[in-house]
Symmetry: C2
Subunit: 124 residues, 2 copies
DNA sequence: CAGAATCCATCGCGATACTG
DNA sequence: CAGTATCGCGATGGATTCTG
């Protein structure tokens, strides 16, 4: 059950990695507010590069979490939106974010404690 | 609020990355069943290398999620366990895993659909 | 506007060998 | 038993340039 060869386990692992990658959650939570065009997303997430936004959206589309609607006009228009599946992911993701928010300070205290003990250890 | 320069946002991002890395969730969920020694963890997670298990545990300890109790005997004995903070993380993480379990098939269908459409596109 | 393609620095991670 | 140290490959991701 904890065996990474187990296909179910691998699927979970893959999902967690996607959640953990640099831009996915940012994009998903932005789309959680409503559909966006490509450059709208870029503006709302200023630090994402064009390349990474494209890759992130492709992965999300492949997972069935985001829909991509192309309007072949000039200039072209592409609208991204969460699918129902994508929306359903919002809840557990937000729960995790909320946990992080609730425990930011505890984590920082833990870091400080750990790091000072580390310093004492190497001073010796 | 969505600005990666925002320290709170960075903390969330860091946590999500930790969740997303290859071994953290496996280790945390194993420790969720009770305290374990180093090599017990290795046996229960056969594919983890010594190095990565050490690093994963160090990070978890630094975050205050896992406690490390050394018994200086010969041979030495080290017990790892979830802290209260670590336990509290279990719930949102399990929620996410459960979501993945519930939607494994939907995701696989999405992959299949996406990939065949990809093939058609490049065939043209 | 919404990308695709290319180049390149960095890093995660595994394999291996050594230690108190 | 529970680590640490070193090496090296492949993947990740940023910057830049080109396109329909």
């Amino acid at each position: 059950m904890r065996d990474p060869a187990n296909p179910v386990c691998r699927t979970i692992s893959t999902l967690l990695q996607r959640i953990g990658d640099k831009w996915t959650v940012l994009v998903v939570s932005t789309l959680g507010e409503g559909p966006r065009r490509f450059n709208e997303l870029r503006r709302e997430i200023p630090s994402v590069s064009q390349r990474m936004l494209t890759l992130t959206l492709r992965n999300l589309e492949r997972d069935g979490l985001v829909s991509r609607k192309v309007t072949p006009s000039i200039p072209p228009r592409v609208d991204y939106a969460l699918t129902d599946l994508g929306c359903s992911l919002l809840k557990p993701v937000n729960a995790l974010s909320q946990w992080a928010l609730d425990n930011v300070e505890a984590i920082h205290r833990a870091h400080a404690r750990f790091d000072t003990e580390q310093d004492k250890a190497e001073a010796a």
